[in-house]
Each structure stands twice: as structure tokens, then as C-alpha cells.
Symmetry: C2
């Protein structure tokens, strides 16, 4: 090989290397920028109090509501379906699931806006499942939070279609998260789709329906197992998905994601235990809804299986466990999740 | 800077460059291997005849049925939901949608196995929509292809849950396609989720339900527009998704994907036109189902809006258009799609 030729190859090689290095640099910078947490004013810290947490919840639910409103614009064609989708999606609610999703994203170092599409998606799946649960062939409810249920307003056919459309939109929305590497969005879609099916909401609702009319004695192991299966699938699975998807979008490690999943399962179950206890210990006035409804419907509840006192102890244990899973995280960043756990266990209605 | 230091930096730079080049080489080789078409025995070619095409269809539907069977194993928990999912998913069917998905993947140079998860997903969405369409609150059908509909066998509650579970599984399955770059799987999820919602199946069914009781005169422009909207959304959108997702998974260019989408829309509409014509021109014996059903139900059909002769001409025009969109592709590789178009337009029942 002549010297000139060798020189030419060397130059080409160096040029190519430079191009690759530059490209790599651009990509890494992009990732760094998108996952750099921007300072948020009015952030919660470990020193905040309950009032500040409530204000935090209100701020988060406002930004989530805005994003949800934009995600389902009221326009033709199929205006009626969109109306029905919005009726349940934008109804009053604490937006606990989206808040959880945004908080875990920030906790692992991501920016809140990265998780906003997934946070909305989780709320869409929740709304979709509510519409189906209320159908005459399921729980046959005509009122939810004081308003007529979706099928009572729009008819069963429109309600079912709105529910399916919300499900599809949720997964499309998650997949369309453009400011994260595609691997993350893809993993989020899988987690969310799994939370819908037989391993999630569908599984829980199916077991719930199958259990109607079953009778269990107090302290019955089989009863507790049945109850836990229902609530792990019906309530906890979507909260788990919210926490996991937020952490995935924020670029959390597998270890961090797993800790947050376990935290979410604890608060999911805790929510249900507290709900069951309130149903038998509070009056309708205190609850703002019919008390003793579960007992009247002959439903299997924690107080029925464990007794009221042991149910309370169980809720406290779940709260301790939930907090345990947050160890090792920055305590300021974990503040929203710590407050959320306390909020759920202490609620009085 | 000393000479030794400069030398050290140069060596580090060259080493880093080499590592990047090697990594890039590995990645490109991986892409090349996964998208290299493997020769298939008994492939269709432009010279094949109809019998060979029918044999091809049988082979494809066998491999799809095997994959579907594996995708929804019959096991605890929620055995009943899985039974209901399998009842509709594995019932007799020509598997036109999965076949289309596998064929477009191969057409653009991909390997069939790459598109198999998406092909199954498209069939799951189809099965899911069939279950919902048959519900009492929708078309209220108790028989489909001579068998009781899903809710007649398993009850409405289980049918609805099975439908939702199939929808979730479809998107999880697509997202879990591991042998393609994540960008492709993510794009496929978006296309499929879109085909479910207001821009797809839900949109079509909503317009169909809204149109019940509407009356249109022959050759009425508004009637034709309404009819096309329904069929573009109810029938064509999922066929389009099948074709597009197959081409995405196979690594097709945007231009190729768009051509195949247009092809699929043509055959989707054509299927419906032919179906409507057969309903008014054939006897129940010839069709193997009740003839004149649409007329009796007062449904808006192509013969009603265009007349029988013009409907036939329209189907022929759609077939020509469909074939037009396949120009520029290798004629041997495009053979399955060309045969499929002829098969749809010439079917007699």
C-alpha cells in the first residue's frame, strides 16, 4: 500500500470516528437534558406539613385535568362518544393515580412533563374501568359520586364504546411519549396493557363477580386469599402500573422501579382496607355516601374476614411497609409519596 | 502539552473510536440478520394459480392459529375469562387480517416471524370487537357463524371482560415484539391503538348505531358518505392497521407503508361492497346464511344507495385501485396480496 493511500484511509477513519463521537455526544446530551429535573417552585419537602401536601395535590390535579382536557377534545366526528368519554374522565376525582405517576418520575430524577402522557393514560384506564364496572351486567350502579353513571346518561352502547375508546387512547398516548428513548415508552405500554388484562383489572373484576354469593367465616384463610386477589388486581394493579410507568419514564433503575411497585401495592391494599373499615364504622353523613353498603350487599370485606380491630392493624402495617420501600430515596423527593400513604391511612371519609 | 501526553490522548481517542465502530457494526449486523428474509418453501409467485393461493391461505391460518393458541393459554386464575377469550379468538375464521400482516412484512423484506406477534394482535382486536358488536346493547346477535355468540355462552359480564382482556393482550403482545428495534414496535402499538378508538372501530360502530332509523334515497350523496364512513372505520381501519403494522415490523419505508395502507383500505371497502351485493343477489342456500338480512333490517347498504350494477362496478374499481397501489413491488412477493384482492371481489358466498 502506498504511503498516500494509507494516509487517506487514516484520515477517513478519523473523520468517521469523529462523526460517530459527535452523534453519540448529541444523543447523550439529549438524554441528559430531557431527564434533568427542573426546579419546581412550591415543591414538597420532608419538612412540609399536611396543608402543604393538600395544596400540592390540588396543583397536581389541576395540571393533570388540563392535560386530560386537551387529550380528548370535544369535536366531530363521533361527538357523542367523546362527550361520554369526557363525562367520566373529567369528573371530580383526586387524581391519585396520575399524581403517583408524576411523583415517581420526579423521584428517580426525571422531569414531571416526561410522565404526563402516561399519567393521563393511567387516569383514562381508570375511567374506562369505572364505566364498565357500573354497567347493568356488572355492578349495575346508577349513581357514582352523586352523579348518574355513564350508561344512565348516554345509554349502554355509547358507554361501552366510550370505555373501549378510552382504553385505546390510553395506550396510544403512552406510546406517543416522544421525549424519552423508545425503549422506555415501549416498556411503559407493556406495563399498562398488563394492568388492564387478566393479570390486572379484568382479573380482579372477574374474581369479584365469581365470588358473589360465596360465604366465608371470620378469620377464614380462603376468604382472605380471595379478598386479597380481588384488591391486588382491581385496585393495586393500576396504582402499581402508575408508579412503575412514572419511574420507567423518569429513567429509574430496575431496583428503584421494583421498590416503587411494592410501595404502590401497599397503598393500594391499604386504600381498600381503610375503605372497608370506614363503611362499617362511620355514618352516611360522615362518609358523604351510604354507609354499611358492603354489609347490606353481603360483600366480602376486611372487617368481615379479619374483624375491625385487626383490619385497622393491617392498614397500619401496610403503611409501615409502604414507607419501608421508600428508604434509600432522597427524603425531600420522596415526600409526596410519604404524605400520600399517610393521607390514605388517615382519611375519615 | 508534552509529546507523551499527546500520544496517550491519541491512543485513547483511537481506542474509543474503535469501540464505537465495533458497537455500531454489531448493531447493524443485528438489524441485517433480523430483517433478512429466509427462503420459504411453497411460496406463492406471480405464476401461481388460485388453488395454490387457497393452499397458502390454509398454511398461514394454521401457523396463526398455533400462535394464537399459545398466546392465550387455558389456565388459572380467571380460567372462565380465558375460556371466553379463546371461544371467540380461536373460532373458525379465514385469518385474513393476520395473513395480510404477515404478507406485507415479507413484501417489504422482513421475515414472517417478525410480524407474527402483531398478526396475532390484530386478530385479538378483531375478536374483541366481535364480542362487543354482538352484545344485547349493540347489535344483539345470538348467533355468529352458526355458533352461539360469546355472551350467550358465558354471560354478558364475562363477555365484556373477555373483550377488554383481548384488547389489552393485543397491545401487550405487540409491544413485546423483541426482535425488532423498539422504534418499530412502538410505532406498531400506536397504529393499532388508533385503529381501536374513535378514529377506528369505535368510530365506525358509533356512526353505525347513530344511523339506525335514518333513511336515505337511492344515489343520495349523504347516504354514501355515511356508509363509507362506517365501513372505512368498522372494516377497513383494522385491515389498514394489519397491513401497516406488518410493513413497519418488516422495516418498510414510509412510502411502502403508505401504499400498503391504501391497498388495505381498498380491499376493506371492497369486502363490504361485495358482502352487500351478495346479500341481495344470492339465496340463503348459496350464502350459507340468511340472505336479504340487511334489507329486512332496513340497513343502509351499497345496493340501496348505488343500485346493484353500480355497486358491482364500484367493487371492480376498488380492485383495480388496490392492484395499482402494489405497483413497484416485486410481483412474486406481492402475489399473496394480488390473489387476496381477487379472492375478495370474486367470492360467491
Amino acid at each position: 500500500m502506498e504511503t498516500q493511500e494509507a494516509l487517506l484511509y487514516t484520515i477517513i477513519f478519523i473523520l468517521l470516528s469523529l462523526i460517530f463521537l459527535f452523534w453519540r455526544f448529541l444523543w447523550l446530551s439529549y438524554i441528559a437534558v430531557t431527564s434533568t429535573p427542573q426546579p419546581t417552585s412550591h415543591s414538597l419537602t420532608a419538612e412540609s406539613d399536611e396543608t402543604e401536601f393538600m395544596a400540592y395535590m390540588v396543583r397536581k390535579s389541576k395540571s393533570v385535568n388540563k392535560a386530560l382536557d386537551e387529550a380528548v377534545p370535544l369535536c366531530e366526528p363521533v361527538l357523542k362518544i367523546r362527550e361520554a368519554m369526557r363525562y367520566t374522565l373529567l369528573s371530580d376525582g383526586k387524581r391519585v393515580r396520575p399524581m403517583l405517576c408524576l411523583a415517581t418520575c420526579q423521584l428517580v430524577g426525571g422531569h414531571e412533563s416526561t410522565a404526563m402522557p402516561s399519567a393521563c393514560a393511567v387516569e383514562m384506564i381508570h375511567a374506562s374501568s369505572i364505566i364498565l364496572d357500573d354497567l347493568p351486567c356488572m355492578d349495575d350502579d346508577s349513581l357514582r359520586r352523586g352523579r348518574p353513571t355513564n350508561h344512565k346518561v348516554y345509554g349502554e352502547d355509547v358507554a361501552v364504546l366510550a370505555s373501549v375508546a378510552l382504553m385505546g387512547l390510553a395506550l396510544k398516548h403512552t406510546a406517543a411519549s416522544t421525549d424519552v428513548p423508545p425503549e422506555r415508552a415501549l416498556r411503559a405500554v407493556q406495563v399498562m396493557a398488563q394492568a388492564v388484562g387478566t393479570e390486572g383489572l379484568v382479573g380482579g373484576q372477574a374474581e369479584d363477580l365469581a365470588g358473589e354469593g360465596m360465604s366465608f367465616a371470620e378469620n377464614d384463610e380462603a376468604g382472605l386469599e380471595h379478598l386479597e386477589f380481588i384488591h391486588i388486581h382491581k385496585t393495586a394493579s393500576l396504582l402499581e402500573a402508575a408508579a412503575v410507568v412514572g419511574a420507567i419514564m423518569g429513567g429509574g433503575s430496575d431496583e428503584e422501579i421494583e421498590k416503587l411497585r411494592k410501595y404502590a401495592r401497599c397503598i393500594g391494599l391499604m386504600f381498600q382496607v381503610v375503605d372497608d373499615v370506614l363503611d362499617v364504622t362511620k355514618s352516611s353523613e360522615e362518609l358523604g355516601k351510604t354507609a354499611g353498603k358492603d354489609v347490606m350487599a353481603g360483600k366480602l370485606t376486611y372487617p368481615k374476614v379479619l374483624g375491625v380491630e385487626k383490619s385497622r392493624e393491617y392498614a397500619e402495617r401496610l403503611n409501615r411497609e409502604a414507607r419501608e420501600h421508600l428508604r434509600g430515596f432522597d427524603s425531600d423527593k420522596a415526600a409526596p409519596l410519604l404524605f400520600l400513604a399517610d393521607y390514605i391511612v388517615n382519611r375519615q371519609n
